[in-house]
């Protein structure tokens, strides 16, 4: 699905995030909950107003999973199989929520990278994250 050049571009952007999974993930979740409050229904265990510690912890987990995906772009289904099972049988996040998370991901990337956030990065990451969401929801039924 992703060409060799696109995979290289995904990895190039990931290099800018790697090592900063926690703060990046925390901001991602904060934006998600602020902009799309209905997404909080999936995070009742974090309380109505998750604090920084919780956001950093959970955000790191989400971003580390993205990192796994980046390292296994040629074998996403196998690499993400346990997460796909989790989302299908336990979390059951409605698939319409993934584009909301992706939008927030792009906003975090754009606001941090600014001048460096090229249109090529935006299209490649949109394609990559959308593919990720497909894999995570594939076992739903």
């Amino acid at each position: 699905m992703l060409s060799a050049q696109e995979r290289a571009q995904v990895a190039q952007v990931w290099d800018l995030i790697a090592g900063h999974e926690a703060p990046f993930g925390a901001e991602l979740l904060l934006r998600l909950f602020t902009v799309y409050p209905s997404t909080k229904t999936y995070f009742k265990h974090l309380g109505d107003r998750p604090d920084e510690v919780q956001l950093l912890s959970h955000g790191q987990r989400v971003l580390q999973a993205v990192g796994v995906a980046v390292r296994h772009m040629d074998n996403l289904r196998a690499a993400l199989s346990p997460l796909a099972d989790l989302h299908a049988h336990v979390l059951r996040v409605d698939p319409t929520n993934f584009p909301l998370l992706i939008q927030c991901f792009q906003v975090v990337l754009a606001s941090h990278l600014q001048g460096e956030f090229t249109v090529e990065m935006q299209v490649v990451w949109d394609k990559f994250l959308t593919g990720l969401a497909v894999v995570l929801t594939e076992k739903y039924r």
Binding site: L30, V35, A110, Q122
Partner: protein, 147 residues
Amino acid sequence: MVHLTGEEKSAVAALWGKVNVEEVGGEALGRLLVVYPWTQRFFESFGDLSTADAVMKNPNVKKHGKKVLASFGEGLKHLDDLKGTFAALSELHCDKLHVDPENFRLLGNVLVVVLARHFGKEFTPELQSAYQKVVAGVATALAHKYH
């Protein structure tokens, strides 16, 4: 009808005051055409859209992007009556241009990303939230006269 608090309305207006409509409009439309290339279906007369670089530098894209964003800016002055403000444009997009309203949502999202790119940390989650409500409202208003 967009439900923004007084504070959100001020923040939206304050940020918009700093936006270079020509630059941001061209960039938003350009990024739409590259990130979601099927949207190019409406712009076949625009010339070279064959590469990301060609799209972003295309003078027709820049010109049209400026026009679209100027119209959006007008809408910001009438947040309490977006449907009225965009009624004529809604009819145009349905009857003459035949644009699927989903494209308004896509462009709105791209615009938010472009604003984030330009304003960096200043584009807080609260400001993003306000702008996402605005772009959703404009998209709904533009779809309102469809039949």
